[in-house]
C-alpha cells in the first residue's frame, strides 16, 4: 500500500498548507477582521455600494 501512504501524505501536507498557512496568514475574512458588529459590516458594504462611479 505504498500508494495509499503517498496519498495520505499529500492530503496531510495539502490540508496543512491550506488551513495552517493560507487561511491563517493570507486569507482573513475581511469584514470579520475589520469590523466588530453586523451593523458596521453592513454600513461598510453600503458605503461601497453607494460610492459614485467617479470616486472608484
Amino acid at each position: 500500500m505504498v500508494i495509499g501512504r503517498s496519498l495520505w501524505k499529500i492530503i496531510a501536507i495539502k490540508l496543512f498548507i491550506m488551513f495552517a498557512v493560507l487561511k491563517l496568514f493570507f486569507f482573513p475574512n475581511y469584514l470579520t477582521t475589520n469590523f466588530n458588529t453586523e451593523h458596521d459590516r453592513a454600513e461598510h458594504v453600503l458605503d461601497n455600494l453607494t460610492r459614485p462611479p467617479s470616486a472608484r
Partner: protein, 509 residues
C-alpha cells in the same frame, strides 16, 4: 504603448479563475468516474466474474488518486470570497452560506462513510453492501455539486430574492424559485453530464493506451465498451442540456449569447457562425467588420435562441445602445436608471442616519422603481456592458466543436469493439488517448464561456465585479495568486505522476 496596470479586481478575478480552473481538473473526473466504477462493480456482482472485480479495483485506484489530490481544493474558493470578494460575499452570504455548509457536511459524511467502505471494505462487508456503498459515493459526489451550481445559476439569473437596503443583503423569499430556476437546473444537468462524458473519455483513453501497448487487452476492451456506451449517452444528454442552456442564455443573458456568436448587429434569421476568425479589435458601435473570415448557417441562431428560425436576435450594438424599433432598452439607457437607483440608495442611507423616516420612505420608493438596473449605475460607459467577445466566441466554438466530436469517437469505439477489431485500430486508439486532453479543454472552455461571457457582472445586471471585490492592495492578491499557482501545479504534477505510475503497473492480473 505601456503595460496595462492590473488592479485588485483583475488579480482577484485571475486568482479565482486560476483556482476554479485547477479545481475543475479534479472534480469532473470524480463525478463521472464514480458512476463508471459503480457500473463496473454492478457487472461484477451480477456475473460473479472476478475479472470485473479486478477491473473495478483498477479504476477505483485511479479514482482514489484523483479524489485524494483534488479533495478540498474548492475550499480555497471560499477563502477567496471572504478576503477578495467581501462585498459580494456579504450581499449573498446569508442565502448561500448555510445551504453550502449543510450540503458540504451532508455530502462529506455521505462520501466519507461510504468511501471508506468502498476502498477498505472488500473483505469486511457483503458484496451487496459494498456495491451499495460504491453507488452512494457516486450519488454523494454528484449531490455535493448541487448547491454550488445553483449559486452559480443564481448569479447568472438572480431570482427569488429581494435586496434589503438596511442590511445591504439579498434575502431569499422563495427557496424553490432559487433552487429550481431554469438556469440553475440546466447548469447542474449540463455540468454533471459533461463530467460523465469526460470520465468516459478518460476510461476509453487509458484503455486505448493499453491496447496500443498490447497490455491488459481484455480488461481494456471491457472498460472501453462500458465507458463508450455511458459516454455516448452522456454526450447526447450534454447536447440536449447545452441546447436548453443556450436557450436560457438567449432569454436571460442576451449579451452573452451575442458575444458567443460575435453578433454585433441584431437581425432576423440570425446565423450561427460554424467557423470564423473574429476581429478582436472591434468595439461596439464602430464600423469594423466583426469577422475576417466566417462560415455561417443562416437562421440557426434564431432557431436556437427563440425556437423560430425567422425571429430577431439582438446583437451587441442593440444591447449597448438600444434599439427602439425592436423595443430593446440598451445599457446606455439602463445606466441612467441605474444611477437614479444608486443615488436614491445613498439618499435612503443618509435619511435613515438622520432619522428622517419620511424622506427615507420616499427615497426607498424611487429606489424600488429603478433597482432592476442598479448594476448599470456603476458603469462608466455603455460599452462596458459587453464581455470580451473574442474569448467568449472562441471558447464557445471550441467547446461545441469538441462536444460534437466526442460522441462520434464513442460510436467508432463501439463499432470496432463489436466488429472485434478494436485493438488493431491504432489511429482510433491514439485519438481516444489524445481525447482525454481534449475533454479537459472542452470542460475548461465551457466554464470560460459561462464566466467570461457574463462579464462585467458578478450578479447579472445588479453587481459588477469591480464593486463586488474588496478594497485591498493588489499586491496582496498578487502574492497569493502565485502561491496558488505553485500549490496547484505541484498537486497536478503529483496527480499525473502517481496516476502514470499506477497505469504502468496496470490492473491485477
Amino acid at each position: 504603448m505601456g503595460d496595462p496596470i492590473l488592479t485588485t479586481v483583475d488579480w482577484a478575478r485571475a486568482q479565482f479563475a486560476l483556482t476554479a480552473m485547477y479545481h475543475w481538473i479534479f472534480v469532473p473526473l470524480t463525478l463521472g468516474l464514480s458512476f463508471l466504477i459503480a457500473f463496473f462493480e454492478s457487472i461484477y456482482v451480477k456475473t460473479g466474474n472476478e475479472e470485473w472485480k479486478k477491473l473495478t479495483k483498477f479504476w477505483m485506484t485511479l479514482f482514489g488518486i484523483n479524489f485524494a489530490i483534488g479533495v478540498a481544493t474548492g475550499i480555497i474558493l471560499e477563502f477567496q470570497f471572504g478576503t477578495n470578494w467581501s462585498n459580494y460575499s456579504w450581499m449573498v452570504g446569508d442565502i448561500f452560506g448555510a445551504p453550502l455548509a449543510i450540503e458540504g457536511i451532508f455530502a462529506f459524511f455521505l462520501e466519507a462513510t461510504f468511501f471508506a467502505v468502498m476502498f477498505f471494505g472488500w473483505h469486511r462487508v457483503s458484496k451487496g453492501f459494498h456495491l451499495f456503498s460504491t453507488w452512494m459515493v457516486a450519488v454523494g459526489s454528484n449531490l455535493s455539486a448541487v448547491w454550488i451550481l445553483v449559486a452559480n445559476g443564481w448569479m447568472q439569473f438572480p431570482t427569488g430574492m429581494e435586496f434589503n437596503p438596511d442590511t445591504a443583503r439579498f434575502e431569499m423569499h422563495n427557496f424553490w424559485e432559487v433552487a429550481l430556476s431554469p438556469v440553475a437546473v440546466h447548469k447542474f444537468t449540463h455540468t454533471t453530464s459533461s463530467a460523465f462524458l469526460l470520465a468516459s473519455l478518460f476510461v476509453v483513453g487509458i484503455s486505448a493506451l493499453f491496447l496500443l501497448q498490447e497490455r491488459h487487452q481484455k480488461m481494456a476492451k471491457r472498460s472501453m465498451i462500458v465507458a463508450a456506451v455511458f459516454g455516448f449517452l452522456a454526450s447526447v444528454f450534454v447536447g440536449f442540456t447545452g441546447d436548453e442552456a443556450a436557450y436560457n442564455v438567449a432569454q436571460r443573458q442576451p449579451m452573452k449569447l451575442a458575444a458567443m456568436e460575435g453578433l454585433y448587429v441584431g437581425q432576423e434569421k440570425a446565423p450561427v457562425v460554424a467557423m470564423g476568425v473574429i476581429n478582436a479589435g472591434k468595439k461596439p458601435g464602430d464600423d469594423q467588420p466583426a469577422f475576417y473570415q466566417e462560415i455561417k448557417v443562416p437562421g440557426l441562431l434564431s432557431l436556437l435562441a427563440n425556437r423560430d428560425p425567422n425571429s430577431f436576435v439582438p446583437g451587441i450594438n442593440d444591447l449597448v445602445f438600444g434599439n427602439a424599433e425592436r423595443n430593446i432598452i440598451g445599457a446606455e439607457q439602463r445606466m441612467i436608471t441605474g444611477r437614479v437607483a444608486l443615488a436614491e440608495l445613498a439618499h435612503y442611507k443618509d435619511a435613515k442616519a438622520k432619522g428622517d423616516e419620511e424622506e427615507a420612505a420616499a427615497a426607498l420608493s424611487i429606489f424600488n422603481q429603478h433597482k432592476e438596473d442598479l448594476g448599470y449605475g456603476y458603469l462608466n460607459n455603455p460599452a462596458e456592458a459587453a464581455p470580451p467577445v473574442a474569448t467568449t466566441f472562441y471558447s464557445f466554438h471550441i467547446m461545441v466543436a469538441l462536444g460534437t466530436m466526442f460522441p462520434m469517437i464513442f460510436l467508432l469505439v463501439l463499432y470496432f469493439a463489436f466488429k472485434g477489431t478494436l485493438e488493431y485500430q491504432r489511429w482510433l486508439n491514439l485519438l481516444c488517448f489524445f481525447s482525454i486532453f481534449l475533454g479537459y479543454v472542452a470542460q475548461e472552455a465551457g466554464w470560460v464561456v459561462a464566466e467570461v461571457g457574463r462579464q462585467p457582472w458578478a450578479i447579472q445586471g445588479l453587481l459588477p465585479v469591480g464593486v463586488a471585490s474588496t478594497n485591498i492592495a493588489a499586491g496582496n492578491v498578487q502574492t497569493t495568486f502565485f502561491m496558488f499557482l505553485t500549490l496547484f501545479t505541484a498537486l497536478l504534477l503529483a496527480e499525473i505522476r502517481i496516476m502514470v505510475k499506477q497505469i504502468k503497473i496496470g490492473p491485477e492480473e
